[in-house]
Amino acid sequence: MSLWGILAVNSVTFGGLLFLLSAGFSLIFGLMRIPNLTHGSMFMLGGYVGSSLYLTYHLPFWLAALCAAAVVAAFGGVIERLLLRRLAGSTLAQVLVTLGISLIVADFCLMIWTGDPISVATPPALAGGTREFGIFFTTYRIAVILVACVVAALLWALLDKTRLGAMIRAGVDDPQMARVVGIRVSRLFTIVFCLGAGLAGFGGFIGAPILSVYPGLDSDMLPLALVVVILGGIGSLTGSLLGSFIIGFVYNFGQALVPELAYFVLFLPMVLVLVLRPQGLFGRLAP
Amino acid sequence: MSALVIAGLDKSFGGLRVTSAVNLAVEPGERRLIIGPNGAGKTTLFNLIAGELKPDRGSISLFGRDLTRMASRRRAHMGLSRTYQIITLFPRDTLLHNVLLSLLGLSGWRWNPVMRLDRQRALVAAAEAALGRVGLAHLAARPLAETSYGERRRVEIAMALAQNPKLLLLDEPFAGLSVDERRDVQKLLGDIPRDVTIVMIEHDMDVALEFAERISVMHFGEVIVEGNRAEVVADPRVKEIYLGE
């Protein structure tokens, strides 16, 4: 029983991290129609920057997380304004540029932080755990789940209750119409790209005590973001949330039960969804 | 046997009925004109006939052959050719190359991965002849991007004719043409022999009415009025559609 319990808790936690990663990816894909192949690198970059701020410069844990998010968000803004905006109109070129940038970021991280994995210890305030229902819950993992839920609630409030959110939703539904109505779509693109990048960076650091930060983290996380978003629906926050938890479970249980076919179990549903129902389980837009 | 018979054709997109119980019968060699205000469903009807859209109900047959379930690419092989409102040809290629592609579409050679296409004299000669029919043989080596809009329209018609169609669908062939270009296309269409049945959608009333033998008037996806020129022009319903009441 306790093995399943541990797997379940880990799955939910991983799902929370995946949500931080894929919510931004989904919004970027939904609004700008490009799968941002730099997203995994942004997650990793956030992990590295946050680790340095926390371990080397001794910033408080959550402050380091927010600063990491800000740095990665700024980086995203630079990419969007300098490169992606130049290539507006050619989604393929934009996708290829994000691919190229992911290579640059990966090597940049290798250069600055070397190849040794960085393990970040759980912040002392959240160390330890509790035992409930015969399962040992680490406090930190609960914290991550809570943070993910808070972020989800904030994002939902942003999209549903604010003017900016309404503009984003309009842009996702019909970019041409949004422009006609007077929404400054290009400025929206920058905002959403920064938001997505920041979320990914944030997730990269608070995930560090669980996943650690290492070269290749970007390649490990990006395909998962893709699966979540394809399954959950491009541009759909609900879809990202549900998809993240589903994939969290599939990934963890898959690794435990059928390690040889773990990736197969993960990607086959994505392929099936793309082939049969490209708009995903919740999305309204077909890419 | 009629050239084209459409019976009870229905098509809806979500809640919107774009084609409503359309019945149409076009005789062999006839020149049929379809007119109607914007949004009447004329191009949708063409897309249904050509097979790019599948109808919800009804049937389409060409010279007795039921096309309703047939894939659109096969309808070209059954003798159906069409032109489009917006010309979508191959701008980086020469006029000759564009027509060659049209000829190749119905030829068994199109699956051949080893032959050199530009060395096939018979095909090239046929393509040149097709361009000659529309008066563009002298521009055979010109890239399409360097030709005028009127010339491109004529190339498109040449490509459609090159497939020796039994039924030719023309979607607003006069749109965007200058007076001279319109005259050229008019003459071209007039020269098409009677073994080709033509159905045309057009907005330009003067040219279209001259061309048409029978006219079908569409509105909100239905065929409201059908008859010859005099009948249609006199019909009060037609006046209502175009002028409002």
């Binding site: 129609r33 490009i34 799968p35 130049r86 290539l87 989604t91 070129a93 290829l96 540029v97 691919l99 190229g100 940038i101 290579l103 640059i104 990966a106 090597d107 250069m111 390649s219 395909p223 893709l226 699966v227 040889e260 990736y263 197969f264 990607f267 086959l268 994505m270 392929v271 793309l274 082939v275 490209p278 890419p287 | 790019e52 690419r73 096969r74 070209a76 092989h77 050719s81 489009y84 979508t88 040809l89 191959f90 980086r92 592609l101 049209s102 190749l104 579409g105 119905l106 030829s107 050679w109 199109r110 699956w111 051949n112 991965p113 080893v114 032959m115 050199r116 296409l117 530009d118 490509m159």
Partner: protein, 324 residues
């Protein structure tokens, strides 16, 4: 026309003479590597440049060929048997790829191929009982066709060169054939092609098979070259690299992929000796080409050369006018 033939003859002569003018075995091996990746890039370009379908999963097919060869050899098959098995396995894999990915075009096609490539990578990485996982599968020896031992770098180079020339010739024939012409038509105006009577899906399917076949050939050459295959070869970064070769060289041309392959292999192998951050350099080159020279190096260089010639000529004719 004769200028082109002369250029071609010179290029051929230069390629044939590589073991003589290239300084040492290491560089002969790099030349072989360039040719192997050129075949890979030609294969991908058939899909990207001529069919207009961008795949990010081709490293998976490349890996299938390599693993199939290595596994067959390890199972006791002879070289001929292993190669045939590998080609068959790659074609089977390609058919599955094509059947799934061709349900869509554009970005969805890209993502399906990405996912399929990831599935194959995951299988290579995790299905340890078959693939030996991270440890990889070694290849004990290279073939010796008709007694010509390919263990010597120069000999292996000639074998690779022969295969490369065959691949290049087959692409040339393919492009100029009716099928190739109709393929380019489906790239530019799929709807019109459909209306003209072409079976667009089937054209793309056969093209995918041809692309997969060339990729398989490259994979077989690769595994004999490195005498080792590991899951890293099937990673997303590998698919990205070969796509970089195609894009940087210039899609829709025959020389483009070759130039792109040479560029990437040279940066990876030779520049890496002088520049530590060659991976970053590759990324920068990629971004620069996509942004500034999207048509690729080959057409872009031609454009630059034409511009340069035009800049020189007015000066020459002005001089002429001055003297008369």
């Amino acid at each position: 026309m004769s200028a082109r033939i002369l250029a071609l003859a010179l290029a051929l002569a230069a390629l044939a003479a590589v073991p003589w003018w290239v300084p040492g075995d290491y560089y002969i091996s790099v030349s072989s590597q360039i040719l192997i990746y050129a075949v890979f890039a030609l294969g991908l370009n058939v899909l990207v440049g001529y069919a207009g379908l961008v795949s990010l999963g081709h490293a998976g097919l490349f890996g299938v060929a390599a693993y199939a060869t290595a596994s067959a050899l390890a199972a006791g098959f002879g070289h001929a048997g292993a190669i045939l098995f590998a080609l068959a396995a790659t074609l089977a894999g390609t058919a599955v790829f094509a059947a799934l990915a061709l349900r869509a075009a554009g970005i969805v096609f890209l993502m399906i191929t990405l996912a399929l490539g990831q599935i194959l990578w995951g299988l290579a990485y995790r299905w340890i009982s078959i693939t030996n996982g991270d440890n990889g599968v070694p290849v004990a020896s290279r073939p010796a066709p008709l007694g010509f031992a390919l263990d010597v770098p120069a000999h292996f180079y000639y074998a690779t060169l022969a295969v490369f020339l065959l691949a290049l010739a087959s692409c040339y024939v393919f492009i100029h054939s009716p099928f190739g012409v109709s393929l380019k038509g489906t790239r530019d105006q799929p709807r019109r092609m459909n209306a003209l009577g072409y079976h667009v899906w089937l054209i793309r399917f056969y093209t995918f098979l041809f692309s997969g076949f060339l990729t398989g050939v490259a994979g077989i050459l690769f595994v004999y070259y490195t005498q080792f295959i590991s899951p890293q070869t099937l990673a997303l970064t590998s698919s990205a690299e070969v796509l970089l070769m195609v894009i940087s060289g210039g899609t829709g041309t025959l020389l483009g992929p070759i130039a792109g392959a040479a560029l990437v292999v040279i940066v990876k192998n030779i520049a890496s000796a002088y520049i530590e951050r060659w991976n970053m350099l590759l990324g920068v080159i990629f971004v620069a080409i996509v942004v500034f020279m999207p048509e690729g190096l080959v057409p872009g260089s031609v454009r630059l050369a034409q511009w340069a010639l035009r800049a020189i000529r007015p000066a020459a004719s002005a001089r002429k006018a001055g003297t008369s």
